[in-house]
Amino acid sequence: MITAERKPLEELIEYIKPFKRILLLGCNECVTVCAAGGRKEVGLLASGLQMAMLKSGSNIDIRQHTLERQCDPEYVEELVPMLDGAEAIMSMACGCGVQQLAMRFKDKPVFPAVNTKFMGASERQGVWAERCQGCGNCMLGMTGGICPIARCAKQLMNGPCGGSTGGHCEISEDVDCAWQLIWDRLKALGQTDRYLENMPAKDWRPGGGSGPRKIIREDLAE
């Protein structure tokens, strides 16, 4: 899922200072899973902001709502009757959701409440690690299910590099060497000949190298 982390409170206070009533919106998908912007976090943030503003003598009305998703216009449309005099919207969703809101409600300032981080998976409760960078041409079948784009600091196609030490990347002891992991996995799968196949230099065009990407499904798009 897409992971995110809440922005520091002082930054958020700067955003909402000029307003008397705002709508704080959560998202029930990715940011809920990584405990950054779900219904509970909306409650926590609204309470914290209210108290911080109260302390500095200003009163602000923070309306709270959580949408199923903010990246689909059908869900964003549900907000229309709820706007009710809100002067600005603060979204706890990932960047996709924030932009979708801004596109729909052109007359209202829209602010992000979280910093969107990466596409990742849970390693264990409370720990999420980067797994995918959306390179557009998935090669996981060749690398035993470990991604050298997302997990190798140099995004090598034919690793490891000379910096791989004790199974760790030279950048930090906390980072596994992706190619060590790949080799171990290929060995366990009995697919070590895959390692000998030289992978050509990556064509980055499907990976964002030729500009913002779009998918159009002719069977679905009207």
């Binding site: 520091p8 409170l9 926590l44 309470s47 914290g48 209210q50 108290m51 911080a52 109260l54």
Partner: protein, 141 residues
Amino acid sequence: MMENFEPVIVAFCCHYCAYTAADMAGSQRLPYPANVKIIRVPCSGKVDALHIVKAFEKGADGVYVAGCLEGDCHFKSGNTRAGRRVAYVKKYLEEIGIESERLEMVTMSAGMGYRFAQTATEITEKIRKLGPSPIKTALAL
């Protein structure tokens, strides 16, 4: 105003240990300050960050979460989770501008009536010295 200040303290007490200890303090006739308002929860791990933050939002001067002793949680690890959550909320309180000393995690066993009374007294005094919560002051204005 400072002289008449009576702190309002919310104590989330787990049913199996802390609440029973409070009950024990009562049967042993051990006095503790009436400033402490007890909220019984099935386990200290049931207390959510939002419960704590809302207590402060409504003007509580101090909050503490009382659970079972380390290793003795009736639900295995609820008290450890509560401890971690309390630490997390303490940091959030500092961000908001509320002194993190106003929130505490304590542990005790069901038979420790004296410990419940002692903790309640100590925390009340600590909060009394800290003064009214900045939120309570702002709400009063």
